[in-house]
């Protein structure tokens, strides 16, 4: 159950990232760049969570998961504040 949720989360974030980067390539709209980076980071974070909880339970990757997520959302927030008009 947990695996499915994190995997789905990673794939959804990846989908969002791809669509946003594609949109950025088309129109050069900065908001799409920052949000694309956010979702790319979130899919990495979900991936690390998957690895942490399921593949490598002997290591604790919690700090890395948190850091990746925090940076990703910080990038999004930067974009929202400065580029969403």
């Amino acid at each position: 159950m947990a695996e499915a949720v994190y995997l789905l989360g990673a794939l959804t974030s990846l989908l969002c990232a791809i669509l946003l980067f594609r949109g950025y390539a088309a129109g050069k709209r900065k908001l799409l760049l920052w949000s694309g980076l956010c979702f790319a980071g979130l899919s990495v974070s979900n991936g690390i969570t998957f690895i942490d909880l399921i593949l490598l339970p002997q290591w604790d990757l919690y700090s890395y998961r948190l850091a990746t997520t925090a940076i990703s959302i910080a990038l999004l927030l930067y974009g929202l504040v400065w580029t969403s008009q």
Partner: protein
């Protein structure tokens, strides 16, 4: 000229769906009122008192939204081309409305949310068909 409620709704819908900014509207109406005159970005820039670069973007945006046509054997000239009677009718209505209700129409356009936000939403569209 009294306007029925239904006409006003059609105008509002058209503006909400197709018009990105007041500048876009003015550019469109400029081409509409002078049809079928062809305009280059430089000419439009002079007429609308904007930068040529902005005029170029306005014209490209309008063409991408299928509201005006690029003149084929020229570089960067655009004109209004009649696609359908219904489209002509709607733009005529919009033109008439805008003359008398500049403030209301401007507010309507500004209430739409910025174009960055709309581009965000548009990025998630991956099917080709036009919205109804």
């Amino acid at each position: 000229m009294a306007e029925s409620d239904q006409e006003q709704r059609r105008v509002d819908e058209f503006i909400l769906e197709k018009i990105d900014s007041v500048s876009h509207l003015e550019a469109l109406l400029l081409l509409w009122n002078s049809r079928p005159k062809e305009w280059s970005p430089e000419e439009m820039a002079r007429r609308l008192y904007v930068d040529t670069r902005i005029a170029r973007e306005l014209l490209a945006d309008l063409q991408r939204s299928d509201l005006i046509a690029a003149v084929s054997n020229s570089n960067e000239s655009y004109c209004y081309e009649t696609r359908s009677e219904e489209r002509d009718q709607i733009i005529g209505l919009v033109d008439a409305t805008y003359r008398f209700q500049v403030v209301r129409i401007s507010n309507l356009i500004h209430s739409k949310g910025s174009s960055a936000v709309r581009d965000f939403a548009r990025a998630f569209r991956f099917t080709k068909k036009e919205p109804e």
